[in-house]
């Protein structure tokens, strides 16, 4: 079976490291980018099974990147990683067809649940 790959786009190094470590536990190789435009280019070249996007980033925001990715590949599985956000932002994320919203701080159980649901879907 081919190696499973996940893309993590987040401007915070702490978060990139955490997600990489978690994802390794579930058999994913994590490829990380620290800004949205690089993230989109990498998405197109590696075709990851899972994509994790930070919502608030300099340059293009996570929501804009989500829209670009879904337009490019409607089948892409995208998880939006957020801090505390307003109900309004949450609505925008849902309208942009995110597959899941993961609010920080999250724990291993939450991430495992998401990965399992997406993998079995």
């Amino acid at each position: 079976m081919a190696e499973k790959t996940a893309l993590v786009v987040d401007d915070s190094e702490i978060n990139r490291n955490i997600l990489s470590l978690y994802l390794e536990l579930y058999g994913y190789r994590a490829v990380c980018e620290d800004d949205g435009l690089k993230g989109f280019e990498t998405f197109k070249s590696i075709h990851p099974q899972l994509t994790f996007l930070d919502v608030v980033m300099p340059g293009i925001s996570g929501i804009e990147l989500l829209k670009k990715i879904k337009e490019y590949d409607p089948q892409a599985k995208v998880i939006m990683v957020t801090s505390h956000i307003s109900q309004n932002t949450l609505k925008q994320i849902k309208e942009a067809q995110a597959d899941w919203v993961l609010q920080k701080p999250f724990d291993e159980a939450k991430l495992e649940e998401i990965i399992q649901r997406i993998e079995s879907a």
Binding site: S12, I14, I18, L21, S83, H84, S86, K104, P105, D107
Partner: protein
């Protein structure tokens, strides 16, 4: 005071200039223009202390004049002149951001000078409020994004460390303590976020199933204390479903009340009785959370929900802002919350949090 004066009517120009020149207490340096199109470039190139402007000009009418001036000079105080008997336009202008208005035909030297002076001070006050609000928003963002990120990292690494079998009992205990402190920080950050959401005022109320929210919260709270405290929660609720007018924050309300009842409790088993019934007026459900905790003396009861006291520096009570949040949410629903003794007259027997929640 360096004043930009917009007026096209020669009679009004003469009158105002005369008044300002004869003002005994203040010197005015007046720069007069007749059109908005002359005023805008001047505002861009020079600095003024205030603007005095007729709203009806040859190239701009009514509030459009004010809006254009504000856009060009957002930090300058503006006093508008309105036509005879046009109070309504003056009020509309103040609502749209002017600091004051004067009705032509009723202007005296004293009134004009006073209005300009007040406008300058009022604008300064508005500016200060705006800056403070931005500062508060900046610190809130710092907390709910940046510090939350770091805290998330701490939580993650502490949890991993706790699973490390090479750690001795003593080290594990230390890591556990750190973890519970970091979890408290996480809760505090969540509450700050929710408070600011409520302050924005957009609650989007809908029908919420109280019983299912309560059941979920009961499970969550029991789970939370599973290692540290035995918890019993008895429910005495009517048979029929209870739908209240609320939103996703009802969970926060119930969780906070249950946690408080368990946390401030010295009995071997923390017991909570949740009771609810519809009031006869048909508008509210009365929901009571009674506990066998340490109780709260009458002198402290009303302060329990008061945010202002905590914001004045008294942060020693350790209650966080959970109850402030609870009260804000309940009141946002159009409900009420207060505190009674579980056994009337003897606070040491525990507390009773009473809520009136509007029916959906």
């Amino acid at each position: 005071m360096k004043l930009l004066f917009l007026e096209d009517n020669p009679g009004d120009v003469r009158l105002i200039l005369l008044m300002l020149q004869e003002a005994p207490s203040k010197r005015f340096e007046i720069h007069h223009v007749k059109r908005l199109s002359e005023a805008l470039p001047r505002l861009q190139e020079e600095s003024f202390d205030a603007i005095l402007s007729d709203l009806g000009l040859p190239d701009s009418q009514g509030l459009d004049t004010l809006i254009a001036l504000r856009e060009q000079a957002p930090f300058l105080p503006i006093v508008v002149l309105t036509g005879n008997d046009d109070e309504a336009m003056g009020v509309a202008a103040v609502q749209a951001g002017a600091q004051d208005y004067l009705v032509k035909g009723n202007i005296t030297t004293d009134l004009l000078v006073k209005s300009l002076n007040f406008a300058v001070e009022r604008k300064r006050g508005e500016q200060t409020i705006l800056e403070e609000r931005n500062r508060a928003a900046f610190f809130k963002d710092l907390l709910v994004h940046d510090i939350n990120n770091i805290n998330h990292g701490l939580l993650f690494h502490l949890k991993r460390l706790l699973k490390d079998d090479t750690l001795g009992e003593k080290q594990k205990e230390g890591v556990s303590t750190c973890l519970s402190l970091v979890e408290k920080i996480a809760q505090l950050i969540t509450n700050v976020h929710l408070l600011s959401e409520i302050d924005k005022g957009d609650l989007n109320l809908e029908a919420v199933d109280f019983k299912s929210v309560l059941n979920a919260c009961v499970e969550k709270v029991k789970q939370m204390f599973i290692q540290s405290k035995e918890v019993e929660i008895h429910q005495h609720l009517p048979e029929e479903p209870i739908f209240i007018r609320g939103n996703y924050l009802l969970d926060t309300v119930v969780t906070n009340i249950l946690i408080n009842a368990v946390k401030y409790n010295r009995q071997p088993v923390a017991t909570i009785w949740v009771e609810a019934h519809a009031l006869e007026d048909g508008r509210y459900y009365k929901v009571e959370f009674k506990d066998n905790g340490i109780g709260i003396p009458d002198s402290a009861k009303s302060a329990m929900f008061r945010k202002s006291e905590r914001f004045n520096g008294d942060t020693s009570s350790g209650l966080g802002i959970g109850l402030t949040l609870v009260k804000k949410v309940v009141e946002g629903y159009g409900g009420k919350i207060w505190l009674e003794d579980r056994v009337k007259g003897d606070f040491t027997q525990g507390s009773n949090f009473v809520l009136l929640l509007p029916k959906a």
